[in-house]
Amino acid sequence: MTLWAKLRPYGMVAPAILVFSLFFIYPIFYMIYLSMFDWNFVSPTKAFVGLQNFQDLLSEEDFRKVLTNTSIYTILTVTLTTGLALLLALWLNKRNIFHGFVQGAIFSPHIISLVSISLLWSWLMDPEYGLLNWVIGLVGFGKLQWLSHPSTALVSLVMVAVWKGVGYNALVFIAGLQSIPADIYEAASLDRSKPWTTFTKLILPMLSPTIFFLVIINMIGSFQVFETIAIMTQGGPINSTNTLVYYIYENGFRFFKIGYASAAGVILLIIVGILTIVYFKLLSNRVHYR
């Protein structure tokens, strides 16, 4: 084998490895390194504080609120997006013009930038002039405060996330449903299977890889929610929508507590890592792959 033939595969993957190392691996390690320092981004010296940042974080009331907010947001977003998408997919899993149109319509939020979506929903949810309050007013309900009240703000953000994600999720579910051969349904009907039995005993298990994939993707995405919060609520009112990534951003780039923000980043990394591992270990046994 010539030298070139030996080196060629390495040469081929080198650019990808380089980019990955530079923008993913290196920052992760640098973040872990920074989490053990007290630094304000501009001073030439960093003061080593060991695990003090972590100690401070975990004892802080705000940070615990942030973790709770993030968990509630994630659980609600993931279950609602995946559940609604599955229902939509079951309904849309036929080929006609109307279903094609609906499918396109619910998918379109996926390709709109989050900034536009955030602005759009801020208007819709405006307590005084918003369309949503006008509509519920027509039905006879009182006005909701939406983003302006601690009790409704987080749920309002969940609504936006579900609205954006459900079309994409439904599309993936439709693809999953269409990979189920028609004769499975026919065999089930000959076996006197009722629609509900067919759904729970055959369709759901066969969709399990799809569900698994979507839950993982949605969960990681929700844990890292940032844009909607930055634009719509800035973590407020009274910290009710402050989530982990927004908290990291505020500490790092507004209060310039880089070490502190890095420590929170490490905690986010650990949480997402643990969730992913647990999920894979726990559920991969129950997921059916063809």
Binding site: E186, A187, S189, L190, D191, R192, L202, S208, R290
Partner: protein, 357 residues
Amino acid sequence: MAKIELRNISKKFKDDTVIPNLNLTIKDGSFTVLVGPSGCGKSTTLRMVAGLEQQSDGDIWIDDKCVNDTPPGLRDVAMVFQNYALYPTMTVRGNIEFGLKNRGVAKTDRNTLVTDISEIVGLAPYLDKKPQQLSGGQRQRVALARAMVKQPKVFILDEPLSNLDAKLRGQMRTELIQLHKRLGTTFVYVTHDQVEAMSMGDQIVVMNKGVIQQADSPMKLYHDPENLFTAEFIGTPAMNTMSMKDVRGLDVQANGYIASLGFRPEQALLNAGPEVRGHVIEGEIVTRESLGAEQIYQIRTGGGVFFVKTFLAPLATADRVKVTIPYEHLYYFGPGGERLRAGIEAGAKQLVQAGGI
């Protein structure tokens, strides 16, 4: 056990008429094979019996009950699909007992039934495996077991062997025949393979373009085809046919107009002596296929290319041969492909002396 009757059945897909008007009685306890080229409507017919497809018009009777509006699960029909259609997320046991569970059969009874059936089809060691861990033949058995365990009145099999290799297919074929004998249930079987049809069926329904060409026993189909289509469809190699225009040296007296002539490759004789009374064609051997016990020759003659099959005879090595077809083995067909039987007298053309005193 059940008799199945299809009365004036038609099936349209949008504007496309797949089956114009079909009448068929499938006898109780018979092994009926629907056979025909792909797209002839045989699978559609089968699926209408199972209730997976609704006929556009006509009635389907199973025993004394019109099942037009009966859903598939309540027709007492079990089906084996071409791709088996096993439930991939369930174990072999789960697949077999799914239908029983849906009928509310008690657990102890289910276990007995599943154990019995898996013994019969040889699946006992695999009950806790998933279908994708099984070979093609084993999956086939699971599909059979799933159908059998419901003890249906009618077994419907849609090309069940077409995904198996040749050897396994032969083995499963005999197993299916034995299974039919043992159960005595009505089997309706669809295939495009006439060899499969001939070897398994006791009634064979030959279909083409949604129309039944002939429904008969295998031997009747082979020896006494009702039309050109059946004659050419049944038998390997197929029956040789030629247009009457191309036939030389044959004198036929007939009541009707004969459009074409046919003979079976295995009834033609190579280089027979003059004692055999028959139609003689001279030709050139193009190819020889020697399969051991039998040889198949492709012979080019003035009237086209023919096949001749001989048994346990030495391989003919000459390039030019004389093919003799005994007169009684000639088949005659009318212009519409219909078989002409009555009043046909064949003989060698007499040379008429021209001129002279």
